[in-house]
């Protein structure tokens, strides 16, 4: 089973080949085949999860030559560690759900739709497992194409604008990253590297000035994908126009590409620059949290509201990641998965009522709880998970992010960010109340059918995950921890030798690892005035 990863990644393509031979009118078969493919992919990916040893090494590695010409050597070099493992699992887990959700949602051009879905899955999986930077870039770009068509063909009335905006917006960022990639590669050649393999570049010690430019190029590409505050406007459009499955995948997985990019590439490759820009990025993240929450609060379209809410959530992820300590990054990673599950579920929920009423305006609803109790229950659970109620997945990630960031030099950012938990409660509960509570006055709503078996079976796995990850997150955290510790120590060591800014040394014998020290006493000026450790006792 040495090539388990490749198998998982390219199974969907096999599914596509299968679909090609199915006549386009037999929609049922098309759907079932696609669903089967995704399910099989998930099943195949399970051994990866169970076979994963809890250590910092990359596992299930495959490394074969691919391109070799002129100065360049690209390899088909893939593998996963604790960080990518869960994102891979998330992908294979969400896809069947997304497919299942399209059974009634998509009626025309089913064949094309299904093919695109599968291609998209391959693209995403590939991006998560690539350890060759060139390979990663290929997958990273390839993902755009199916998503573009999904938004553009099956989207709402403003779909073309949204699709093109999505495509070009992302393209600009990633192309600049491409240039940075080339530059980095040639730096590597000078250092004696011979190929695009990611890991060796972690040891490449670049001067801060170089790091700065390269980091900016990478950061921009990823920031657009995340999306971070000033670069987020493509997201609401894309989400509101995309069909349900599209939104689910976009929110649940595609956005993680950005944050994953930071964790896997931008930070370990350019640690000093990352530290230099941490305050800036944290600021943007915090602005994003508050800003998106406030904007979400006043949305009239449920889907748009959810879209903005995910901007806020990913702000938390970024904050945690840039805390540069184990708690923060672990929280960030968890939050990525949580967001995948909760927000994915939210989009599905929006999809349900949209299919029934063909409107997403909050004002068109109200009092649905009476008519659709099951739906109400599920919606409520997901809502509270998204709010981050203890006992649900949302809390664990959010809490770790905040405590990690609070330990790091980002204390004051954290304080502001924490107020996001209030705002998130405000907008989520408000929309929940306006949709589900109150009189069932709108006659159109009075004969709405409650969720059917298929829809419930879509939601159940998500609900289960919500509670599992909320009540017993240990396995997730434990598997990530070694990889994250490694990452942190990489960052730490390089920045100990950093010429530029100064963070405090590690307090000896800290029970954590080099990680938590980001928490240690602050550089002056950061320290809250209240803290005076030398009070007479």
């Amino acid at each position: 089973m040495s090539n388990l990863l490749s198998l998982t990644t390219f199974l969907p393509v096999l599914g596509v080949l299968l679909l090609l031979f199915i006549p386009k009118d037999s929609k049922g078969t098309l759907r079932n085949v696609t669903f089967a493919t995704t399910v099989v992919t998930f099943l195949v990916s399970l051994p990866i999860m169970f076979g994963f040893q809890t250590n910092a090494e990359f596992q299930f590695v495959e490394n074969v030559p691919w391109i070799a010409a002129g100065p360049f050597k690209m390899r088909y070099f893939i593998g996963i560690d604790g960080i990518s493992l869960w994102l891979v699992m998330l992908t294979t887990f969400i896809m069947p759900i997304a497919v299942l959700s399209t059974y009634t949602a998509v009626e025309e051009k089913v064949k094309e739709y299904m093919i695109l879905l599968l291609l998209l899955e391959t693209g995403m999986l590939g991006a998560f497992i690539s350890l060759d930077m060139f390979l990663f870039y290929i997958f990273w770009e390839v993902m755009l194409i199916p998503m573009y068509f999904m938004i553009g063909i099956w989207g709402g009335k403003n779909r073309i604008y949204a699709a093109v905006k999505f495509f070009i917006y992302t393209m600009v960022g990633s192309l600049l990253m491409l240039v940075a990639l080339m530059y980095l590669y040639f730096k590597g050649l000078e250092a004696g590297f011979t190929n695009f393999g990611l890991l060796q570049f972690f040891n490449l010690n670049l001067p801060l000035s170089t790091q700065t430019w390269l980091f900016l190029a990478f950061a921009l590409a990823f920031a657009i994908k995340v999306p971070m505050f000033p670069l987020h406007t493509w997201l609401p459009d894309a989400h509101t126009e995309a069909p349900t499955a599209g939104s689910v995948i976009l929110a649940a997985i595609l956005l993680k590409m950005g944050t994953y990019g930071y964790v896997r590439f931008a930070i370990p490759l350019f640690p000093e620059a990352a530290h230099k820009f941490a305050p800036l990025i944290a600021t943007l993240a915090v602005i994003g949290i508050i800003y998106a929450a406030l904007v979400a609060m006043v949305q009239e379209d449920v889907k748009k509201l959810v879209a903005y809410s995910s901007v806020a959530h990913l702000g938390f992820v970024m904050l945690g990641v840039f805390a540069f300590n184990v708690e923060g990054i672990t929280g960030g990673m968890l939050q990525m998965i949580n967001h995948g599950i909760s927000t994915g579920a939210l989009f599905l929920i929006v999809g349900f009522i949209y299919e029934r009423r063909h409107t997403r305006l909050i004002t068109d609803f109200g009092g649905l709880s009476k008519q659709m109790p099951v739906f109400a229950t599920i919606f409520m659970i997901v809502t509270f998970s998204s709010i981050g109620l203890p006992g649900t997945n949302g809390f664990v990630g959010e809490f770790l992010v905040l405590i990690g960031a609070f330990e790091s030099q980002l204390r004051w950012w954290t304080v502001i960010a924490s107020s996001g938990v209030i705002l998130s409660a405000v907008y989520m509960l408000w929309v929940f109340q306006r949709v589900m509570f109150g009189e069932l006055d709108n006659p159109k709503n009075q004969k709405l059918a409650d969720l059917n078996a298929r829809e419930i079976s879509i939601m159940v796995p998500l609900i289960i995950m919500i509670f599992v990850m909320g009540i017993y997150p240990k396995p997730f955290i434990d598997t990530m921890e070694p990889a994250i510790k490694k990452l942190v120590s990489q960052v730490r060591t390089t920045r100990m030798s950093a010429r530029s800014d100064s963070l405090p040394a590690i307090p000896a014998g800290h029970p954590g690892m080099p990680a938590a020290p980001a928490s240690a006493p602050l550089p002056e000026g950061h320290a809250p005035s209240a803290v005076n450790p030398h009070h007479p006792q």
Binding site: A68, V142, G152, A163, M171
Partner: protein, 493 residues
Amino acid sequence: MEALSFQQALQQSILSANLIPILPEILLSVLAMVLLLVNVFAPAGQKSYLNYISFFGIVVTGILVAVGWGGHIESFSGSVVLDNFATFFKLIFLVSAGLAILIADQYMEREGCNHGELYPLILFTVVGMMLMASGTDLMTIFLGLEVMSVSLYVLAGFNRGSIKSNEAGLKYFLLGAFSTGFLLYGMALIYGATGTTRIAKIAVQVGQMSLPSANIMLLAGMLLMLTGFAFKVAAAPFHMWTPDVYEGAPTPITAFMSAGPKAAGFAAALRIFLVALPTMQVEWSQVFWVLAVLTMTVGNITALRQDNIKRMLAYSSIAHAGYALVGFAAGNPTGTAGILFYMLSYSFMNIGAFAIIILVGKKGESNGTVQDFAGFGVKHPVLAVAMSIFLFSLAGMPPTAGFIGKFYLFSGAVQKGYIWLAIIGVLNSAASVYYYLRVMVYMYMKDSTEEFDWMQLTVPMALCVAIAVAGSLIPGIVPSFILQFAQQAVRLI
């Protein structure tokens, strides 16, 4: 050097006349003349077999050329050479000519100007281009260039009935001749500065100069020659003929012109500048830097607003010349090999796109706007997918040949240290995405206005599309072997 007597010169040339390097040229020329004769006696209306014959001839020549890979034979006392560089480019020309021939027949039938001269002319063009690629003497290069150009003038104006075609031909002719003047003057000055027209000898002479850029004659000569080639490859500000000629010329010819002659221009220019004037790289790469930026930007920006798809692709081809110039400016193996690779894949994707345009188009070049692609995705899914592949390749999206090509071109610039050039380049290709996507928007996201109509898809057409798809996908996924060939090709000069 002492002047030779006529006798000696004659003997020399006879002795050193090794015909192997120009065998493909000879073959094609003979074929072309034969076709001309055949055409005279052939009854009108059934010229399409000329099409098959010439395609066959191209294939055979292709094999012949390919066999010559790896060899290095000079001939005609060093004015023609057979080396990997020439071979690679010859293959590019043959590919473009072959694809063009495949799509020519159907179009010419429809436009009612299926005169048999078409194929000989194309073949002559190929001969000219081949001479440009393999010529190592300014004279041979000039001859090749003129053979190519003269035939192209005719081809551009081939559709005698169509005033657009006439205009295209005439414009191309006047401006082409004009540029030739500059080219020749440049050659003359270089001859004056170095006392020879042999590239190798020029290299020696220039190499001996302590500060070549101080030699006004040489410098001016170089720049004027550069102008000539810039015109052929349609680099701004010498590009202005391109949109009009491409729009006016018969579509297959446009497809052909956008691929082959452009490559030929690069072939000759590369040989001259890299072999003869390496010591002046500082100067010419500066010039190419500027030209590249201008060309990319003008091409892309202007293309954004085009509705006539032929004209749009014309501007896009200007932009692509710009990308290639990025590699030229870099002037290092990575970049130049990138040019070779890019020219090849560009022939595939661009001619493929034009093939689809021909299929969509109707008599009298009607139905040639972007809007006419509305609903194409539903009517002809397969062709639409093919078109999408071509467009994505043109836009430089992985996993297509276009991406790999751009990657090598730009990384050449980066390697050379021209970071900004690379950045401008990628920003340009980001902008270009818009107008390529626009076609797809119409193909897939807008509904057709007129009723469903099934175009007839002849065998050569289908063949062309198939080849083009393969040619723009496969090198994108497994580019190694082509890239290695390109590397070797540029290493030998």
